[in-house]
């Protein structure tokens, strides 16, 4: 659950921040502000009313010019522009006031509303290359306040980890801050370059339980549930969704009014109407419920639309001919009600359950939060016994009375909770029912030499030589290290525990593959970039409406490649290298032997619709038989 956040950025505007580091073409200030702009743009996009932002400026000169910009209200685009205008170095007088005083003043800012529930964070942006520091004794007094109110302080030092020449002052200052970070647990030191690489922030969705009940084994389903539990095993559990494909940012439709430089939201309004046929009323009645068929022909001339706002109910088409109104009574009546719970039907070796049967989104099953530890032990022992037997349980899950009765695989797992600690949980996933089966018939991929029937078969099966080369190809592109431990019984990722900052150390191929969605990352990247750079323009509208924006944005590389689809910051070089620098000799060999090449469709092949009736096609030898998969146009074939 996202709590309210109160964030202060303290930016060092000393003249030294205006210098460019040897290998960079932007100033230290610009480099340090990448994170600030990103954070603020993100905040604007989140559009949350409760968050608070303050900008503190360390603007030294002959005397300290500490300035703070804060309003106790939502951060808006207007303020964003105001911030941007302030984030400039205005003096070139050598400074003699150190940063410490400003840090204290910034922390004081938190004091006024300290009783309110906020997640507080101070970010300091500096290259610490100015006035040399002596000691930080005074600031240590704040450590008490920070730990009491859980205020985090993060110091983003430009070129902290750089190996290149640093001034004596900078080296000395870095050491002083580093010492502070050792003694003060809420104080974190970060290297700006690292911070800038891992800009995107994981959205943590507060877990919401959707089921609270029991795992049961051997209960008497026909008897009253209360009575039968003695001779059965029950464990109190809760279910939480484990996975949900996220749509990071959803936009709306807006209409531009270029004359007035305004934008307005466009909404979709749906009108409900029935058709009343003009003229002959009998025609309509002729074939019973024919107007219930979905022939949405545009025969507007023969009927008029009568609006029926609010006067309609959901209907169900049992078959093309049988249609029924599903009113609330019928809806309730048609639900098969069953006692909620997770009932074990039996067990099966994990390898005997085909993954093709998994038809739903997985959930976590955990012990009931407030249950006695005996319940925890029962839960854990159940998980352990199944793990020992390399098995899973087939269970019947009823979330609540009247909800769908489903069969599921209940799979035991170990979760890494961070700090080398583990817990048992179960994963529950819906299994296919009979009606879900949609089996078709497909060509075999392996030739069955015993069969003589293949005389007419035109499929080209690969030779043994080709298969051998394919083996080499596959081995050359293997992502696994042979000596790696097996981890499939473990869940280990940086998001499974709500505390995303938990460091899970073993960075491996699994953590690389569990990256952020590249499409969402790309979209957000552009969006934030547009917001940040718009501050240069007089008005946001003009900036967005100007065609220059496109050419500005499109100057960068934009396409996906194997090297950019996974998170860089957490990808150990050897994995990515292997993927992006393939040894292509094996591939080339196989490629030549298989004689594959990319062919373009010709116009003729591309034609989608059947041009003539089946009969005409028969005589027209030039017309290719349409591939049936593509579902031909019904109107045409039936002419």
């Amino acid at each position: 659950m996202a709590s309210k956040e109160y964030t202060i950025f303290l930016v060092d505007l000393s003249p030294s921040m205006g210098l460019k580091y040897a290998t960079r073409n932007i100033t230290d200030l610009e480099f340090g502000l990448i994170y600030v702009y990103d954070y603020l743009a993100n905040l604007l996009l989140k559009n949350r009313k409760s968050d608070r932002i303050a900008l503190a400026l360390h603007n030294p000169g002959d005397h300290l010019n500490f300035e703070i910009l804060y309003d106790d209200e939502q951060f808006t685009y207007e303020k964003f522009k105001q911030f941007a205008s302030k984030l400039k170095i205005t003096r070139d007088i050598p400074d003699n006031n150190d940063l410490v005083k400003s840090v204290e003043l910034a922390l004081d800012q938190f004091k006024s509303k300290i009783h309110l529930k906020f997640k507080r964070q101070l970010h300091i942006i500096s290259n610490v290359a100015s006035t040399s520091l002596n000691n930080l004794d005074e600031i240590s007094e704040y450590s008490q306040m920070c730990s009491q109110y859980n205020i985090g302080v993060s110091m983003n030092i430009i070129d902290l980890n750089s190996q290149l020449d640093k001034s004596v002052t900078k080296i000395k200052n870095e050491t002083v801050w580093q010492q502070l970070s050792h003694t003060w647990s809420n104080f974190k030191l970060k290297d700006t370059e690292q911070v800038n690489k891992s800009l995107s922030e994981l959205k943590v969705v507060g877990p919401r339980s959707y089921f609270s009940g029991q795992i049961r084994f051997g209960t008497d389903v026909e008897a009253d549930s209360e009575l039968s539990t003695n001779s059965a095993i029950t464990i109190d559990v809760q279910a939480y969704p484990a996975v949900k494909p996220e749509n990071i940012i959803k936009g709306h439709d807006y209409i531009l009014d270029p004359a007035n430089h305004t934008v307005h939201k466009v909404k979709r309004v749906t009108k409900y109407y029935i058709k009343k046929y003009k003229g002959n009323d009998n025609e309509e009645e002729e074939e019973g419920d024919d107007d219930l068929n979905e022939d949405d022909e545009d025969d507007a001339d023969i009927f008029e639309k009568i609006q029926v706002e609010g006067e309609h109910e959901p209907g169900f088409k049992f078959s093309q001919r049988d249609i029924i109104v599903i009113n609330r009574d019928l809806q309730e009546m048609s639900k098969l009600t069953a006692e909620p719970g997770i009932d074990i039907l039996g067990f099966i070796k994990s390898k005997n359950l085909p993954i093709a049967y998994l038809t739903g989104a997985s959930s976590y099953i955990v012990p009931l939060g407030d249950s006695p530890s005996s319940n925890y032990i029962a839960f854990n022992s159940l998980a352990k016994s199944l793990l020992d037997m390399e098995s899973l349980a087939i269970v019947r899950l009823v979330v609540s009375s009247g909800k769908e009765i489903t069969l599921n695989a209940l799979v035991p797992k170990l979760v890494e909770m961070g700090d080398s600690k583990y817990s048992y949980i179960f994963i529950v996933t819906r299994l296919a029912f009979k009606e879900d089966e949609k089996m078709g018939r497909f060509p075999t991929l392996i030739t069955e030499s015993s069969q003589q029937e293949t005389t007419n078969d035109s499929r080209n099966f690969p030779s043994n030589e080709i298969i051998h080369d394919m083996d080499s190809f596959i081995n050359s592109k293997s992502l696994d290290h042979e000596d790696e431990k097996l981890f499939t019984d473990y869940i280990s990722n940086r998001k499974v525990t709500e505390n995303v900052h938990t460091n899970i150390n073993n960075i491996n191929i699994d953590s690389m593959l569990l990256s952020e969605s590249p499409s969402a990352k790309k979209y957000l990247h552009y969006l934030k970039r547009i917001i940040s750079s718009s501050t240069r323009s007089e008005s946001l509208f003009d900036y967005l409406n100007n065609d220059k924006l496109f050419s500005e944005l499109s100057s960068d590389a934009n396409l996906f490649r194997l090297s950019n689809i996974f998170n860089e910051s957490q990808t150990p070089g050897n994995y990515l290298d292997k993927i992006t620098h393939p040894d292509n000799q094996v591939t080339l060999k196989l490629f030549k032997k298989l004689d594959t090449s990319y062919l373009l469709q010709t116009q003729k092949q591309k034609r989608r619709k059947v041009a003539a009736s089946a009969f005409e096609r028969f005589f027209d030898k030039d017309t290719k038989q349409e591939n049936f998969d593509s579902f031909f146009d019904v109107g045409d074939i039936l002419n």
Binding site: N47, K49, T76, K203, S209, V221, A232, I233, V243, D253, Y254, V266, Y273, I274, V308, E311, H312, P314, G315, F318, I324, I326, A338, G346, K351, N352, Y357, G360, S362, V366, P372, S374, N380, K384, V411, S423, F433, K434, E437, K438, R441, L445, I446, R459, N460, I467, T488, L513, S519, A520, Y523, F560, R561, T580, T596, S597, Y598, K606, D622, F631
Partner: protein, 778 residues
Amino acid sequence: MSYNNSQYGAESDNEDDNNGYKQYEIKDGFIFLIEVSSDLLKPLPELDNKSQLFTILEAINDLMSELVMTMRSSGVGIYFYNCDTSEVKNSVLRPMKNSTNGFVKLFKLNSLNLQNMKLLNDLVNDDIQSVRSISHYFDYLNNHDTENLPIIFNRLLDEIRAKKEFNRYKLLWITNNPQPYTKTQTKESLWRTINDYYNYNHYINPIFLNPTNSTQPFDTSLYKDIFINTNYLSQTRVKQEDQPFNNVNENENDDDDDDDRFGGSFKGYNKDSSVFKTIVLNNQIRESIFRIKEVRRIQFACNLILSDGPEVGGNFGCSVKGYTLYNKEQYRAQLRLHNKGESLKKVFTESSLVNTANGEIIDIEKLSNHASQEEIANYKKKSASEKKAQNNIFKGHEISGGDVVFLKKNVEELMTNYTFDHNIVDEFGFGIHDADEDEDENGSNENNVTKQVKITASPYLKLVGFRNIDKLDITYNSKPPIFVTADLNDGLRSSSSKGGYKNSFTTFSALYQSCTKLKKFAVLFGCIRKGAKPTLYAFYPTRIEYSTRNQQNEQDFPQGFLLIRLPWIEDVRSLPDIMYHFKGNQFETDETSNGVTSDELVFNLKKLFSQFFYDTYSPSDYPSPSLNYFYKIIKSELLQISLSDEDKKLIKNDVSVLKLSELRGYLMNDPNRVQLVEKINALLSELSHEDEAKRKIQNDEDTTSSTKKRKTAQGQSAVAPPVDEDGILQAWKNDEFGKFTVPQLKSFQQKYRDKIKSATKKQDLIDNIKQFLDSREV
């Protein structure tokens, strides 16, 4: 510069209509043509003293009730010939008009409907319940015309042609007569008729039942003559010669199990077709009838690119197609109905865009009055998003303060461009490629042109690498896997891509064989539909560990790969707080898990559970209880039949409850097992006594700082018990609503949702409930 990716967000909004798939519904017309003979009507011991005819009709009856759930748009017609109805009173069979004697129908080909379903169901059930045997209605017409087939097939074709609502027709011709005709003239006449079926793309599948009294196997040669001497064979040959490229796979010949008999258009048989070799035994009748519904449901078609890097780029790959294997079948309210007045009326919808600033409707279909005819015609062809752009409507995001970041169409396309760059140029030479530029067809209409593949626009699948099969983690399953096989047309006929890879089948087959042999699966990245968001997939071969049905009587999965969606980190949900904070439930791997588990308990659980193992799970054993019950109730409502309470009982409608009850029976049958359960429960109760003791001590210590934390941790995850009416009334009297949680209040509101308005804020919810209670007081 244009980006070949205008189909942005086709996943999220469907207003763009170029989505090639799902556009047409498959509407199958299934026609059963059954030859009546004295053998067909004879009760047989191996069929529980029922006749072959009964078995056929029972199978069709079951097929229809399944089709109504899974393929609602299909239709069924049942016809018989050589059937004598002259002696039967009130026959359910009706003779065909203008036709020969003995040609009758139970019901003509029509969309699935209750009347027909009931007719057949009554027929079958009356027989089962010995009310009236099926043989009552059927009699073999002894003196039928032996040369009547051409007339029957012609008449049936007329009947089929009159029904235009289907787009595929499949005729199942069931016979146990090895002598369908005697004269050459008849045969020649039949050739012509069968040819007509072919020309209309109507598919005929003969099913030969073994004659009951004959010791000789069914001789199908006369049937072979009818089918083979029609034009299909020569037609097939012409087609193959006509191919300008090496793509003879186009005609998937109907010669073995893996054919496309029902999935594709009717292409005829050859002399080796297995259809002439298969004589259906009595216990296979049902299965062979059910196979008619086997349909390949395509999900996507795209290219799978296997190579990357400077030397090969994306030149190595194969074209693939994805099909549904399993999907979640559920009931949805599909339409709105207007129920006032004399009859039910379908409610249509019409949506329009409205400018919220002034309430004006924006008609994006209309061009200004000055537009020329040509302009109007061109405009009509544009996609919805292009039309919107022309009307100054763009996607935008509201940011705090009320400003809107709107994205002009080209900017948005840039942001949602999912084209893949195969890195064919040197490391530093890449920039933006125009997606169209490389795929331009420069006068290449005559032959297929080989192209260097530098980049690929969506849809595509791109190989990342291979992994050992034991590394597959299905913890975060989100959707049913899609079955993927080679595109036998090398991607050259698919509408979704501009080209494909030569020898796709060979490459795909080699990939499959090597993966199964080496026990590897592939990791792929890509978008399987144009404009869909790119996803990571596991590409797992079938028929190896974790992907084999392991079922003796059922066919295994087809050979190919399962495309399994892997999550992005955003998709992964966190565990509840309490799991993280409750350190007492965590253990270190180096230790045994002592303290959080009990060895004795684990030992006994294993001892007990090991007696309850399945070898396999087969979906076909488990019809969905909720879905079937829904259909049962709706059916009874439509037919105005009242169901008895017995009929509505859970145990009658839920096969899983039956299994649970069996499990219970098996458990209670053996004293050892009962004892084991008792022992486990005794262990657990011992543990909870210890627990209570511990808790007491802890409670005494636990007073100050940690209580608050615990409370919040629990408050989030523990669910408060639902409140009953009394509790609510009590609270109402004392005005103590504040003590309830929002879910508690919500659950009460839900009970009376007609009368109490829902609300998002707790206070609003309380006010609404109060208002309701106050009104009731009066």
